[in-house]
Symmetry: C2
Subunit: 332 residues, 2 copies
């Protein structure tokens, strides 16, 4: 199935529980906004584009469980703030809620919201495919591409942004190998990226985040390609570690690319205005049930970092490859 | 107790089992070379200076368990190769074995080896204190020092190299805070460095390795200070991730220091001649009992990397702060 979709019979949003991979492939369903917020905050569903679709389906849930427009609005406001950094969540919530407003009753609202949410999901796949086509032009036959976190099928509805580019390049006949950084502290690289690439039989090697400079120095990396949680006027907010890879790629003259749908763009804002989510110290103190640090240690755990455009060769969108964002803004 | 020492009554080498920290503080003892090799390979005892002392005590064990000089020699050869990258292991083994050769019987050999091993342990503490004095001159009151892996008391006999510098600076009245990178894949930073600093009430904040660039960009780091497994003619071999921090520190104009005893120096060799230990894929696929990657994923897991002198502001030794290794070699 898709990473996230609507279950018509159950009137529920269902998705692959990403906290259980790669050990277990399990579909989770939510019928209430509360459950969905919990799933979003615990990263059962994650990835900027997937969060947009989750937010939109969440609006549908609110229209089902609530009996007044006002009550729906309250739920929608909570949903929009479930996680602060990726702009897609608010984008999806707002699109579905604006559609829902055309309804008089909550039943009508639900109908409009669902149509819009499904539309967002379809668009996401189409957008991923477009990003794939534009991005695959940048990859050469034989390239080894280093990636961080998971900007793949599991972060979207189906194809992926960064990994979508790799999928398209391979579909177009290029041989591409991937180096996946494990992506501490939640290991989306080791848990999700390797899993979905192995499913597709795309060659992948897992390394720790701290090995990226070493593999680059050894000449083992041709390009770096990551996703984005939000593109702002000075650069890109993405999973913590992205900035480090960008600095290191730059020092080794390796091009650093970002693949992101326009729904992740917020180029009127500065990165200084965007809240960087700080997550629980437990993410560094425990891994699963395993204690790996003293319980009373002070921890700094931002989930995202900021990479300035100076370090980014280009941003790959569904409207083309953007090398100059100011110029691009003008064209939009 | 010390990190590693000789137990006279039991005729055994005993040490803090570093694989159990921070959950459990447990002393382990070895009476046979086989056990000690296993302890070294499984990192129950680790850290370049501590490995030197472990190797020397291992020679003592061989003199006890074996009945001929030839048999001792065979054990010693195995011990020397237990781990390839840190030069200290071979250094400690060779010093103790060369001392042992003065004995006629294995009982005499044991006596000479033990005296030499204890001498190496005493020297290690004295050397650490000297490194601390020289290095603390480089730290300013109020500095925040980022470190990687564990170059502390737990990596040595008692005081530490990189963390020894911080201890001495604090003993000399400077306020120093530490940022400890967790140091994947075996988390010596989160498990050991934070633990020993908390024991000494030295302020420490734990981050993932991938956050170092972000805290540097935010102006939160004044200096980077790490240990070394081997200093060669072009630079330093140290825990994987060191090179990445050095590149990133350089990009942010933050001085990058290495603290290492002369027993870690091998400046006649090139880094190209030194075997970089590659460890088991399981270190990235599992964390404790927790599976965090597909079982069949390809993994690249070098335990060390190489950082060229161009990125290193100075190497702190027991004979002074070395800014130009060629000049230093001349002085040696």
């Amino acid at each position: 199935m898709r990473t996230i979709e609507w279950d018509k019979e159950k009137e529920a949003v269902k998705f692959i529980d990403q906290t259980l991979l790669p050990r277990e492939y399990k579909i989770k369903e939510c019928k209430r906004v509360d459950e969905l917020i919990d799933a979003i905050q615990s990263l059962k569903v994650r990835g900027a584009p997937a969060l947009g679709v989750a937010g939109a389906f969440g609006v549908v849930l609110a229209c089902i469980t609530e009996t007044t427009k006002e009550a729906v609005k309250t739920q929608v406001a909570r949903l929009e703030k479930a996680r602060p950094t990726a702009v897609n969540l608010a984008y999806g919530v707002n699109r579905a809620f604006n559609a829902a407003k055309h309804g008089e009753t909550t039943a009508e609202m639900k109908m409009y919201a669902l149509a819009e949410a499904n539309q967002i999901a379809e668009e996401d796949i189409a957008v991923n495919k477009k990003i794939g086509e534009y991005g695959s032009e940048l990859l050469d036959d034989g390239d080894v591409v280093l990636t961080h976190c998971n900007a793949g099928r599991l972060a979207c509805v189906d194809w992926g942004t960064a990994l979508g580019v790799i999928r398209t390049a391979i579909a177009n006949g290029k041989r591409i190998e991937v180096i996946s950084c494990e992506t501490r502290p939640l290991n989306q690289g080791s848990r999700l990226t390797t899993w979905e690439l192995l499913q597709d039989k795309i060659p992948v090697t897992l390394i720790t985040d701290s090995m990226s400079a070493t593999v680059m120095r050894a000449g083992k990396v041709d390009k770096v390609l990551v996703g984005a949680d939000r593109v702002v006027k000075e650069g890109v907010l993405n999973k913590i570690g992205t900035y480090m890879h960008a600095v290191v790629a730059n020092a080794h003259n390796i091009p650093f690319y970002v693949a992101a749908p326009l729904s992740s763009f917020d180029i009127k804002s500065s990165y200084k205005e965007v809240a960087i989510e700080e997550r629980s110290p437990d993410e560094l103190i425990f891994l699963g049930k395993e204690q790996i640090a003293p319980l009373d240690v002070n921890v700094y755990n931002p989930a995202f970092d900021f990479t300035p455009f100076e370090l980014i060769e280009a941003v790959i969108t569904e409207k083309g490859v953007v090398r100059d964002v100011m110029d691009f803004e003008y064209k939009l």
